[in-house]
């Protein structure tokens, strides 16, 4: 078995293609159906190139290493139940919930405040970060996210905003996202978005499965699979709805509206710019459809009067009101 530190060992890494070819030979010769012709062909492959032989020798060292592992130990350690840590985490959480005010205050006394968060974006900013375990997280506008680890879990704390997570199974069997309303337990390689709203949290799953556990419930919460999304608060997970397998539109820098109420649209747009976008109740019911570029919210606002009977009033560039077009009431 090679040592863990290639720099210290001085032994060069094998080329990936050579390793794969060697792996194919090893698989073939390990099969019940292996023939003497296979063995000769493999010998020929080894003789073809010194790197092939080096890969072969490494494989021999590997099988000697495997032989040293006692039968009682091998599967019990190398195939240790990865879900154990998650069950433990769930149990711990359940214990915390039995005294829910404690669970709640743990959240409210976070070690980190927003400006010190590990990852954060300003209004209008989006970025993707690669976590150490290989998971990728995209942060939407005005988002703050912290990351902690323990024996049992790798946890992201969504303090504010919205994220899209592409979990990687490296190191931890699952990834947990804590929000003020509860925790999301994502299977290895799940892809999902989490958005914090004022009272609720919205989870949408694009791939894999997640378990949603509200902070103050004694149930097991709810399981969501690919193409499902659900809102939840501290007590309940609401019925799921269909979700987009592509992940949220903001990943592609757009805001998609399908007969969206104008006040909702204004609130959505406001997330992507500093300042306030207010919607006059007189036009709040108007419906808007289309795909809008998040990188140019000023342009979107300027274009609104061409789409709807509204006018855009700039008190300052940070205080904008959508009102009825002049001549209307």
């Amino acid at each position: 078995m090679p040592t863990r530190d290639s720099v210290a060992s001085g032994e060069a890494r094998l080329n990936r293609n050579v390793a794969r070819e060697a792996a194919r030979w090893l698989m073939r010769l390990g099969s019940e159906q292996a023939t003497s012709a296979d063995i000769r062909a493999c010998d020929q492959w080894r003789a073809d190139n010194p790197e092939h032989e080096r890969a072969w020798q490494r494989a021999q060292a590997l099988s000697r290493a495997f032989e040293l592992i006692p039968a009682e130990v091998g599967m019990a350690t190398l195939d240790r139940p990865v879900s154990r840590s998650r069950r433990t985490a769930l149990k711990t959480l359940a214990a915390l919930l039995a005294v829910s005010p404690v669970a709640w205050s743990t959240w409210n006394a976070p070690p980190v405040v927003r400006w010190r968060a590990d990852y954060r974006t300003a209004a209008g900013e989006r970025r993707e970060v690669m976590l150490t375990d290989g998971s990728r997280v995209s942060l939407n506008t005005a988002t703050a996210l912290d990351e902690t680890w323990s024996n049992a879990e790798h946890k992201l704390w969504l303090r504010e905003g919205e994220i899209y997570v592409q979990a990687s199974p490296e190191f931890y069997p699952s990834l947990h996202v804590a929000t003020p309303q509860g925790t999301i337990y994502a299977d290895a390689s799940a892809h999902f978005a989490v958005r914090l709203n004022a009272q609720q949290c919205l989870v949408s799953v694009a791939a894999g499965n997640v378990q949603v556990l509200p902070a103050q419930t004694e149930t097991r919460g709810a399981r969501l699979s690919a193409a499902q999304q659900a809102a939840f608060d501290a007590h309940t997970v609401y019925p799921w709805q269909p979700a987009d397998l592509q992940g949220p539109d903001w990943l592609r820098g757009t805001l998609h509206a399908d007969a969206m109420r104008l006040d909702t649209f204004a609130a959505e747009l406001a997330r992507y710019r500093p300042g306030i976008v207010r919607c006059d109740p007189a036009v709040a019911d108007l419906r808007i459809s289309g795909t809008f570029q998040l990188n140019n919210t000023d342009g979107v606002l300027q274009a609104l009067p061409a789409l709807l009977p509204v006018q855009v009033n700039y008190r300052t560039s940070y205080w904008i009101t959508l009102g009825p077009a002049s001549g209307q009431t």
Binding site: M1, P2, T3, R4, D5, S6, V7, A8, S9, E11, R13, L14, R16, A19, R20, A22, A23, R24, L26, M27, G30, S31, E32, A55, R58, A59, L62, S63, A65, F66, L68, I69, P70, A71, E72, V73, G74, M75, A76, T77, L78, D79, R80, S85, P111, V112, T132, G134, E147, T148, W149, S150, N151, H154, P169, E170, F171, Y172, P173, A188
Partner: protein, 165 residues
Amino acid sequence: MPAPQDAVHGLYRDHRGWLDGWLRRKVGNACDAADLVQDTFVRVLRHRAELAKVREPRAYLTTIAKRLVLNHYRRSSLEQAYQEALAAMPEPLAPSPEQQLLILEILHDIDSALHTLPARARQAFLLAQLEHLPYNDIALRLQVSVRTVQRYIVQGYEQCLLATA
């Protein structure tokens, strides 16, 4: 340009306390944090030639520390499972203390090499290596096709052969 040795010393003097605080916050445990601080600086020392290129010392330190944190937890879960397995073994069969350490190192190398594989692929490979099960039996056990088992075996070998990091 300070000599690399001095650079390590400066890094240690200026950021050790900060890194310790950061790690305590991250792992919630002062003992683990202290160990991880030491491990981080050992790693820095070993790769001190890199320091000349480092622009943001704290970002550099936390990048190293994060990786060590994950390895640390992975290893401790392995050690825990190993202790449990050893405890369950009948005494005459239990390996000697030296053997136990050697086996732990082997387990750790294999564990690190295989951890990127999906659980099923890892299981298939381990059943072949540890229990010497024929591919057909593994396929039955895991409820997949023999062809899939063969693919899993190839993946397992490949990861082990490539593992050096």
